[in-house]
Subunit: 296 residues, 2 copies
């Protein structure tokens, strides 16, 4: 191992000699792939490595060069005024960002390994018989939420608060927050779960104004939504800038707060009547519960 | 115009001679760039073109080749077990998907130009008084849709079809389709608009099975949805792999087909009672109509 460490610190990573064990995960949207590889030492013993390849964004100043210097242009399809091609650029104009974790442990491999994901269509019966008992059986710790509400943590990050003991709330940046993105949570004081919450009572205008004031993003440019399934069971709302294509704002997970409020105003039993779709990873216990119940 | 049409139909697009006018938009997340270019004719007159360059997802079967055949590997950063490099692949392993709209009108240029975006909450009254008259007043050309339905274009790309004159449909890859993503459209033969369409009559199982069979993606891993507002007014459905974080699958635009069907089954007047949220760019005429009506 000492020999490996020494080698890793001084020599370039031997990419061309890497033995490819498997593809851990790929992202078609991000144009990235996560690989599990193995480097063979002099004695024939293998050491694991994670190699992440990601295509890079176009650089504005190099686009013209790309158009001029392509090595080949192959027509794929033509229809009316639209056509598509494959363009093959010279190497210097198509760099790939390569990240190496070496030596990699089993934990690194698990971190990047893709889990299969599948959609569940949960009826109200499913919620009562499978999901709710599952949630109640788990002792998910949401101490960090109470820490915020009780100002034992992140007190200096609070953007806005309404101290009403019944309908009050606190507005704080999300962990994943980045300057231009505006991910925020609104945490009502009431210790309620989504299914029992009353989103229609939430002071939406009040909080949108606070976000607008703090970050200079007008309310009409804010995506305001709940997650189902949420990542923790204390009613909370996400705010993201419309211009930011936020992960977690997909139709199979996000529910616009305005839609939820309208649905409940139209029919207070709406969510008892309508099935809801969400995605579960293959290793999630809730999926196993749906399988045991013969529902997937 | 006749000369353009003839040229466009037979010759490859003269990419290397393109004069770059400006970058309309770029997406660092998607590794895509949208260009406004100009093609000079023999007489010196210019014709506008939109050229979209998008890096392609990695193909699993070619990853090993990429590791072996890279032309150069440059170290960028090293810290403990982590290091990053720039890898320069040979041309044949770094294709760029190129989409050309030529000749392009001012409308096409505007479509791809980056614009500020804002949310609209459209009530049924708004739809009747603002949106519907607007759609009817526009003469959007959807000739390319009819070309597909009448097999004048893309006939060899059809994945599945149901020839029923009333509820029949055609399943074809989307323009934006890439090998691992499964973006598809389902185009019903009936020349209907979303608001007048009857999604509940769509043979969803039939088409999901066809997609599953062709691409090896099970139905439980398909995100099946409509867009509102759609990009063209002929009822169509999007299919994307759940693992692919597809643009256009955001909660402010996508509506799961299963939700739409359930809502209509619960109350056939559901969409006449409920407001719908969608985003409009600052330059869209429909936004101006909402502004004139004092609704935003």
């Amino acid at each position: 191992a000492a020999a490996h460490d020494g080698a890793a610190a001084t020599e370039p990573f031997p990419l061309a000699e890497l033995r490819l064990r498997r593809v851990l995960r790929e992202s078609a949207r991000d144009k990235a792939v996560f690989l599990h590889g193995e480097v063979r030492g002099g004695g024939g013993e293998g050491t694991d490595a994670v190699v992440i390849l990601e295509k890079t964004p176009f650089q504005e100043e190099k686009v013209l060069e790309l158009l001029k210097k392509h090595t080949k242009l192959e027509l794929q399809m033509r229809n009316d005024i639209y056509s598509t091609y494959h363009l093959y650029p010279p190497p210097e104009l198509s760099e790939i960002k390569t990240t190496v974790v070496y030596p990699a442990t089993e934990k690194h491999l698990q971190k990047y390994l893709r889990q299969e994901v599948r959609l569940i269509r949960e009826t109200w019966e499913d919620y009562k018989n499978i999901t709710l008992p599952f949630i109640q059986s788990q002792s998910f710790s949401i101490q960090w939420v109470y820490n915020i509400l009780e100002k034992k943590a992140e007190a200096d990050r609070i953007i806005h608060e309404n101290p009403d003991p019944c309908n009050g709330f606190v507005l704080v940046p999300d962990f994943k927050w980045n300057q231009n993105q505006v991910c925020l949570l609104l945490l009502p004081w009431k210790r309620s779960c989504l299914s029992e919450g009353n989103p229609e009572e939430m002071p939406l205008n009040d909080s949108s104004e606070a976000v607008a004031k703090r970050f200079g993003v007008p309310g009409s440019q804010l995506r305001v939504y709940l997650h189902y399934q949420p990542s923790y069971y204390h009613l909370h709302v996400h705010f993201t800038a419309l211009g930011y294509d936020a992960p977690g704002s997909s139709v199979e997970r996000a529910h616009l707060l305005a839609d939820v409020i309208d649905n409940l105003a139209m029919d207070s039993m709406y969510y008892q009547k309508r099935a809801l779709t969400f995605a579960l990873r293959a290793d999630e216990l809730l999926l196993k519960k749906f399988q045991e119940a013969g529902r997937v």
